[in-house]
């Protein structure tokens, strides 16, 4: 017999051995960088990004006093609003119509998932062509409807909604797949018993489907918000934060400040604000999922 304490020590050591590769990578590329980000935001930095003088929360004070930062936050918020709500509604519609037992339905499922396979650079350039104010498809469509032309990406009022359109198209695949699997997990018997009660289609959707789908909807919502907050590629390729900072979301501002203006300290303070926002969202999600276990 091995004494119990010795066995525990042995077990722990064994377990740590299996966890070691992941732990090492997390420490080097996640935890340490996060702490370093916090440290960078509390110091002045030189051109190489080394800390020089401790300035405490000065950078944060500077940031919260700057109208540009609040503009960035507002743009980020608006972008999230423009992409998340339409993105989920469209995906919900697609998932609903594809959740049936017709022939060749799997073809349609693959088609609805298709935008997942077009990466950000390709999608942005395709839309750049569609948005082309001179001879683009969207200009043509507006003309067909007798509407005045719009300078999609160079009009300060239209740039953000235009970028949002690309993000919506790119998110539809993921959202539809997840919502579809949520719909499929609703047992058929529930619908059958409702049908006996004479429940009509829209009421059936509102009273049965939506409540039972709410956990999945909530998951899609949180993931969509986090994705929207992290949008970068479309903006870097199409507008570089412009026109007039109207697409200068937080993530783009971090990139710009750090790697163009070599203002590592300010960029790090912004990065920490982004971290706090996403942390709160994720904690909220975990808390909700934890509660959900009870009514399942």
């Amino acid at each position: 017999m091995i004494p119990k304490q010795k066995k525990t020590v042995y077990n722990t050591r064994q377990a740590l051995l299996y966890l070691l590769p992941s732990l090492l990578l997390f420490i080097v590329f996640t935890f340490y960088p996060l702490i370093r980000s916090i440290k960078l935001s509390l110091f002045n930095t030189n051109l190489m990004g080394q800390e020089t003088v401790f300035v405490g929360l000065h950078r944060y004070a500077e940031m919260f006093a700057s109208p540009q930062f609040f503009h960035s936050l507002l743009v980020t918020f608006l972008f999230t609003l423009y992409t998340v709500i339409p993105g989920i509604l469209i995906a919900l519609f697609l998932a609903y119509i594809v959740n049936c037992q017709l022939r060749y339905i799997s073809v349609f499922r693959t088609i609805f998932a298709f935008p997942l396979s077009i990466a950000v650079a390709g999608a942005s350039m395709i839309f750049m062509m569609l948005f082309n104010p001179g001879a683009g498809v969207f200009t043509y469509l507006l003309q067909l409807l007798h509407l005045s032309p719009v300078f999609w990406l160079s009009d300060p009022g239209w740039a953000l909604p235009s970028i949002a359109m690309i993000a919506i198209w790119r998110s539809v695949g993921f959202n539809t797949l997840v919502l579809l699997s949520g719909l499929q997990s609703i047992p058929e018997q529930i619908y059958e018993s409702a049908r006996i009660d004479g429940s009509v289609s829209w009421r059936q959707f509102k009273d049965i489907t939506l409540p039972l789908l709410s956990p999945t909807l909530f998951f899609v919502f949180i993931v969509s918000v986090i994705n929207a907050l992290q949008t970068f590629g479309e903006i870097n390729i199409l507008t570089q934060g412009g026109p007039m900072n109207e697409t200068n979301v937080i993530v783009y501002s971090i990139y710009r400040e750090a790697f163009f203006n070599t203002n590592f300290s300010y960029a790090s303070a912004e990065a920490i604000v982004l971290f706090v926002i996403i942390l709160l969202l994720t904690v909220f999600e975990f808390y909700f999922l934890e509660k959900r276990v009870f009514y399942r």
Binding site: I97, V98, F114, I118, V137
Partner: protein, 269 residues
């Protein structure tokens, strides 16, 4: 009748979803005059296959695709190793501090990559890993999501086999290789498809740490085909079609695995 209406609805929706890409494919076969015409030309009069040759000539797309594949495969293999080892410990071992460590793993999901990207860039620079495969791949070789996904699957394997095997003196490592991994092929496939696709589509990290044509990945290299003087839309679109092919094929073949991966996060075990 109702069925036909349903098909019509599905077909309209499918056309709208596919429209941007189908139009891109059409343009990739058009002549330069056709791409500039207004109203836009939907179907080219003749197939100008030469556009594809020009795209390949203008930018080393095959090198970019090779780089993206190399990085994606490295990250996928790396994650399978690190995640399955960690998930095995979390699913089968009893040890003090297990809960704390598991929470520590999950907490990495709350840290967005953009919040750590500046120090990470500095780390890679000081390691002299700018413009290298290891610089592109190593930071992404561990994943809390992957560990969680595999742990969920491992937990469905009957624990009695594990205990019986341990009684018979089977070492933990041997059990891992001879039982756990072979029984978990579906979950490993899910993780692979998911990781490969998301790495292939990475944008910000490769943008920061590569600046030579020989090391650029697809997403960054495509910018060389950005519509500009001298390059017209047909060349750009041909390039996009070429670099999208691998992920389109992967999506069609691996959709089932992918759905499992995507939904793993929405259900708590």
């Amino acid at each position: 009748m109702k069925k036909i209406l349903h098909y019509v609805l599905l077909a309209i929706a499918a056309c709208i979803i596919l429209a941007p890409f189908l139009y891109a494919v059409a343009v990739s076969f058009e002549s330069t005059e056709e791409t500039l015409a207004f109203p836009p030309v939907w179907i080219p009069a003749a197939l100008h296959v030469a556009n594809y040759g020009k795209a390949l000539q203008t930018a080393p797309l095959l090198t970019f695709i090779f780089n993206s594949f190399a990085v994606s495969i490295l990250v996928t293999v790396g994650q399978i190793i690190t995640c399955s080892l960690a998930a095995y410990a979390f699913a089968f071992f009893e040890f003090p501090g297990k809960k704390v460590l598991f929470t520590l793993f999950l907490s990495t999901m709350m840290i967005p990559a953009e919040s750590t990207i500046i120090p990470n860039y500095m780390i890679i620079r000081s390691l002299d890993w700018l413009n290298t495969y290891q610089g592109l791949a190593v930071p992404f070789m561990a994943s809390a999501f992957g560990t969680f996904l595999l742990r969920q699957y491992f937990q469905t394997l009957p624990k009695e086999i594990y205990e019986a095997a341990r009684m018979d003196g089977c070492s933990r490592l041997r059990f891992f290789f001879t039982m756990v991994l072979p029984l978990s092929k579906p979950a490993l496939a899910t993780l692979s498809v998911y990781t490969f696709l998301s790495t292939y589509n990475q944008y910000m990290w490769p943008l920061l740490i590569t600046n030579s044509d020989s090391m650029r990945t697809v997403q960054i290299g495509l910018a060389m085909l950005q519509w500009d003087q001298g390059i017209s839309w047909n060349t750009t679109m041909a390039g996009i079609v070429i670099v999208s092919l691998p992920t389109v094929v992967l999506l069609i073949l691996g959709q089932k695995q992918l759905v499992k991966g995507l939904t793993a996060g929405s259900t708590k075990g």
